[in-house]
C-alpha cells in the first residue's frame, strides 16, 4: 500500500530546533512539517509588519532552515511551513536568500497566499457578509475600528498545488495546522479534494502530531516519571497509508515515548466536539478513533471518519483591546499574610488617589491559588507561612493607566508594610489583542500559489 512519511519539525514559534535536526539526520521522512502560528501570533506579526514592511513572519524559520536545509537537500526532504504569518512573500524572499547563501541552487520555494482579508473587510460587510462573532454573536461594528488583522484559516489546496509544481519548501500564511500535513498526504497518496473519508482520517492523524513533543511524551500526565530523557525529546515521525490509517513513532535514539497513553492525551488536546472536528478541508470525526500499540514507540491510528467540508471558513481577526498593567510583590514571616493584605490595600488606595481606570482586575497569591483560584482569591490563612507572593493585574483602556499599576506599586519598596521584597522590576506594559472569530463563505476565498526557483 502507498504511504507517506511525515516528520513534525516545529510546533510553535520559538520551539526548540534540535528535534528537527535530530530528525533529518536520523529518521526516515519525506516531509518536515512545521507549525509556527498560535491564535495570538498573527496579531503580533501584523503589528511587526505595520512597523516594518519586510517583517511580519516568524523569524525563527531562518535559523531553523539554516540547521536543517543542507541535510534536507541531500536527502530530498521537503519542508512545509506556515512561518509566512502575515507576510509570506517577505518570508519566502528571506528563504530564497538563505538558499543562495548555502549554495542550494535549483531549490524551488513556494508561497501560498490568499488568507489575508484585512483589505476586504468593508467590501465584505457591504456585500452582506456579517463577520459577526461566532462565540458571542456580537456585530463587527462593535470593534471595526480596532481591527489590526484578519486572516482566514485556509486548507491545503495551495500546498498541494505547490508540491505538484515541484516545490521543495512551501511557505504559507494562516493555513490550518492540519493542512501542513494534509497537503503532502493528498499529494503523495492521490486523495481527491472531496475524498471526505480519507481527508477526515488524515486530519485526525494530523491533529495527533501537530503539537510535536506533546504526542511523544512531553507533558505526559499519565506517567511523566517514566519518560526517559525528556530533555532530548524526539518529535513524531508518522507513516500515513493510502487508506487513511497511520503509524506514529518518533526519531530513533531520542527521549520520550510513543504510547497509546501519550497519543490519547494529545488527541483530546484543544478539541471541541470530537465527532465534528472542523477544518477548512473536511470535518473529521475522531470520536470512534482506535489506537493500538504495535511496537516499541509505535502506535497505529485507525477508525477515524470524515464528512464534507463546511460551507464556511473560519476567520480570526485580531483587535486592539487595551493594555495590561501588572505587578507582584513578596512578604515574609512574621505575619506574611497580614502584610500582603496591607500591601494590597496600600496599592489600591494609591491607585484610587491617581484616579486609576481599569475594566478588570485580578489578585492572585502565587504558590497558593494562582492557577485555579476564582477572580477574587483569598490569601492562605496560615500565620506561620514563610513567604507570600501577591500578583496584581489589571486590564486598562490606555497605556498610561496600565503604567500606573507599576508606578503606584514601586513605593511598596520603602513606604509600605515591613518586609517587602521581590517587587518585580519594571514589567513591560503589554498591549492586549482580542481574537474575533467569525465565518466567511468559502467561495469568496481564492488561494494563490507561486513557485520560485533559486538561481545563482
Amino acid at each position: 500500500m502507498k504511504s507517506v512519511k511525515l516528520g513534525t519539525g516545529l510546533a510553535f514559534w520559538g520551539d526548540s530546533l534540535r528535534p528537527a535536526i535530530d530528525m533529518v539526520e536520523r529518521a526516515d521522512i519525506q516531509y518536515l512539517c512545521c507549525d509556527h502560528l498560535a491564535e495570538l501570533t498573527m496579531s503580533i506579526l501584523s503589528k511587526q509588519k505595520s512597523r516594518k514592511p519586510d517583517l511580519g513572519y516568524t523569524t525563527d524559520i531562518i535559523p531553523f532552515l539554516r540547521g536543517v536545509l543542507p541535510k534536507c537537500h541531500e536527502r530530498g526532504i521537503k519542508i512545509i511551513s506556515n512561518a509566512g504569518g502575515s507576510n509570506p512573500e517577505a518570508c519566502a524572499q528571506k528563504v530564497i536568500e538563505l538558499c543562495r547563501e548555502l549554495g542550494l541552487h535549483g531549490m524551488k520555494v513556494a508561497t501560498v497566499t490568499g488568507d489575508d482579508i484585512m483589505d476586504r473587510i468593508d467590501g465584505l460587510l457591504e456585500d452582506g457578509i456579517e463577520l459577526a462573532n461566532t462565540d458571542t454573536g456580537q456585530q463587527l461594528s462593535d470593534i471595526r475600528d480596532k481591527v489590526t488583522q484578519a486572516n482566514v484559516y485556509i486548507g491545503c489546496d495551495g500546498i498541494v498545488e505547490a508540491l505538484e509544481q515541484g516545490a521543495d519548501i512551501v511557505i504559507c500564511g494562516r493555513v490550518t495546522d492540519a493542512a501542513l500535513y494534509l497537503g503532502p498526504m493528498r499529494h503523495e497518496l492521490g486523495w481527491a479534494a472531496d475524498d471526505w473519508q480519507s481527508l477526515g482520517a488524515g486530519t485526525g492523524v494530523a491533529h495527533c502530531i501537530e503539537c510535536g513533543g506533546q504526542a511523544s511524551g512531553g507533558l505526559y500526565s499519565g506517567g511523566w516519571q517514566d519518560m526517559n530523557s525528556l530533555s532530548s525529546l524526539g518529535y513524531p515521525v508518522t507513516e500515513v497509508f493510502e487508506n487513511g490509517e497511520a503509524t506514529l513513532s518518533k526519531t530513533p535514539q531520542t527521549g520520550g515515548a510513543v504510547t497509546v497513553g501519550t497519543v490519547s492525551e494529545q488527541l483530546v488536546y484543544e478539541v471541541l466536539d470530537p465527532a465534528n472536528y472542523l477544518t477548512a478541508d473536511v470535518v473529521s470525526d475522531v470520536s470512534q478513533i482506535k489506537l493500538d500499540q504495535v511496537g516499541p514507540d509505535q502506535v497505529h491510528i485507525h477508525n477515524v471518519k470524515g464528512k464534507p467540508a463546511p460551507e464556511t471558513l473560519k476567520v480570526n481577526m485580531g483587535y486592539r483591546a487595551g493594555f495590561v498593567g501588572e505587578t507582584q510583590f513578596t512578604y515574609t514571616w512574621p505575619d506574611a499574610v497580614k502584610k500582603a493584605k496591607a500591601g494590597l490595600a496600600f496599592l489600591n488606595e494609591r491607585l484610587e488617589q491617581v484616579n486609576f481606570q481599569s475594566t478588570h482586575t485580578r489578585v492572585e497569591y502565587l504558590g497558593h491559588n494562582s492557577m485555579w483560584g476564582p477572580e477574587v482569591c483569598d490569601p492562605p490563612d496560615d500565620p506561620e507561612i514563610e513567604e507570600l507572593v501577591v500578583r496584581f493585574a489589571a486590564r486598562c483602556p490606555t497605556k498610561e493607566e496600565a503604567q500606573k499599576v507599576f508606578t503606584e506599586s514601586v513605593p511598596l519598596y520603602n513606604n509600605g508594610p515591613a518586609g517587602a521584597s521581590g517587587i518585580g522590576t519594571r514589567p513591560p506594559i503589554k498591549e492586549l489583542y482580542g481574537i474575533w472569530p467569525c465565518l466567511i463563505p468559502r467561495e469568496l476565498i481564492t488561494i494563490k500559489t507561486t513557485v520560485t526557483e533559486v538561481t545563482a
Partner: protein
Amino acid sequence: MTLRVWDLAHGRSGDKGDICNIGLIARSDEAYKRLCRQVTAERLQDHFGELIKGGVDRYELPNINALNFVCKGALDGGGTLSLRSDHLGKVMYTWLLRMELDDE
C-alpha cells in the same frame, strides 16, 4: 478511602478562544465506566464554580476510554486577554483530577 479522579484517569487541557477543553483518559475500561457515571458536565461545573461562566458540554471517545469536557467562558475572555496566570488553561485538568468521587 475516598477516590479522586486522578486515581482513575490522567488528562490534558488547552484553549480555543475563551473555551478551555479538558480531556480525561481513564486508566482502564472499568475506570472509564465509573468516570462516565460520575464525572458529568454538572459535577464538573460545580467543581470549578465561577471559573467556568458559559456552561460545560461533555463528549465521549469510548474506544480510547476518554471523556472531553468543553468549558465555555472559562479563560477570563480568552488566552490573549486573560489576566489569569494560567491564561491558556494548561493546568485546568489538574484541578479536575483533584475532584473527589462518590463511593460506589
